[in-house]
């Protein structure tokens, strides 16, 4: 039985790394969004209570990243999406309404297939006031 040379080992190592990389590539969901229609489910709603870590108050996607603590005590980051800026702004919901560091409670439709996403319906702020994201049809 021949011993592997250093070069041989390096080759096997490279091949393993390549294979591992390939497996990761295969495992990666190719289309995790699919479509806006498929992004959220109308059948599941949830309330997230947590701290805002990022605010994107701009079109095309108003986004808030919110860190919540799950049932196992672990921190998770969720991507909460709102309506276009003009609809929110008309009702007094501006970029200053929710800021990084605020603790809020967000209620909305959950992301499909377990995605950590929320389509916002209401946000309750620390002072108890409620922002409503109800888009006209």
């Amino acid at each position: 039985m021949s011993k592997l040379t250093d070069q041989g080992r390096a080759r096997i190592g490279a091949a393993l790394i390549l294979m591992f990389g390939f497996c990761i590539f295969l495992a990666r969901p190719v289309y995790s969004h699919h479509s806006f229609t498929a992004e959220f489910t109308a059948e599941k709603t949830a309330t997230l209570v947590g701290t805002i870590t990022q605010v994107w108050f701009r079109n095309p996607h108003v986004r808030y990243l919110i860190t919540v603590t799950n049932e196992n005590g672990e921190e998770e980051s969720w991507d909460a999406r709102g309506s276009p800026v003009v609809w929110l702004a008309r009702k007094g919901w501006t970029k200053n309404s929710i800021k990084v560091g605020d603790t809020v409670s967000m209620y909305g439709f959950l992301g499909r297939d377990g995605r950590k996403m929320l389509s916002i319906m209401t946000v309750t702020l620390e002072d108890g006031s409620v922002l409503v994201d109800r888009v006209p049809e």
């Binding site: 990666r28 479509s35 806006f36 095309p60 888009v135 049809e137």
Partner: protein
Amino acid sequence: MIIQRSRILFTTILFLFSFSTLAAEADFEGRWMVSLTDQKRTLVGLLELERTEGGWSAHLEGGPARIAIDGDNIVLYADSRDVRGFVFDRKLTGTLKNDVISGMYVQEGAAAQKEAPGPWQARRETPVVSSSEEPRPVDISGMWTATQALDFRKYTMALTPAGEQWLENYLPYYDQPDVRCTSIGLPALATYSFPFEIIASENRYTMIYEYLSKVRRVWMDGREPTEFMPPSRMGHSNGRWEGSTLIIQTGLLDKTVRDFRGELISENARIEERYSLSDDGNTLTAIITVYDPDNYKRPPVRRRQWVRKEETEIFPYTCDPDSFYIPMYEDGEMDMYIERTDRRF
């Protein structure tokens, strides 16, 4: 003797019954205007019922609807999409009597916008004929705010094989022009819920749409586009008054998609819009039809209604595609996005 009489009687009843059943079924055929009322609004749509080899086919606003007919009774399922993107059905159950179909409808499937069950009715369509009616222009200038009335927002359309093939590989979340802040153009812009302003000038109407801050001009002097005018998503629009209905024909269009679902609108498409004003001048109604035989077996129809609100302001619509690109980058989907370049224009 008694048996023979019974037989004759039975045959006669059977004949009359079959005849009445056939007659009732045959009566469903044709073009109907459906109106449906829930607690808040009335929806209106064109329903086409046709006999096929296997039974019946139904189309609402140009899109296929599931149908079952049994004697005088009809059940229709028309899909729709609510504003959050959830697709649901409206189930219309009714009976044909005295050439009017009427019954109740219910919403089926999960939707963000809940509709209460309500009555519906269908009457034979009075065809809109192009007339040589003298122009009687009315004042449509002003600020217009969309209502929730009229539009069924029919979701699926009757696509040609080419149209189907396009849609099969389309991913609205990535491919829609407006997710990367590019104009979606017509017909979508004229049907979205954002307010718009109409400014009347001597030879044109200028429409300013809040959504994506887009502007279009409708020429009333019959002009053709100049030689080097490129096609665009707003195209070249000519308007004329037939009585007090403003009819706008648009061509010179650039490729785009019809709506959130992503059905293709080709460069050969022609769009007709018919605008009419209520007697009090405060409600504007549009019927928008897309003629694009490359992609649609039947022309898709949308309706929209707005109310005049001079106090409405058109807000600036600033759009920064970073909020689209960065999450995609974070999710490791950028390569896939680039590979899909041929799905975008």
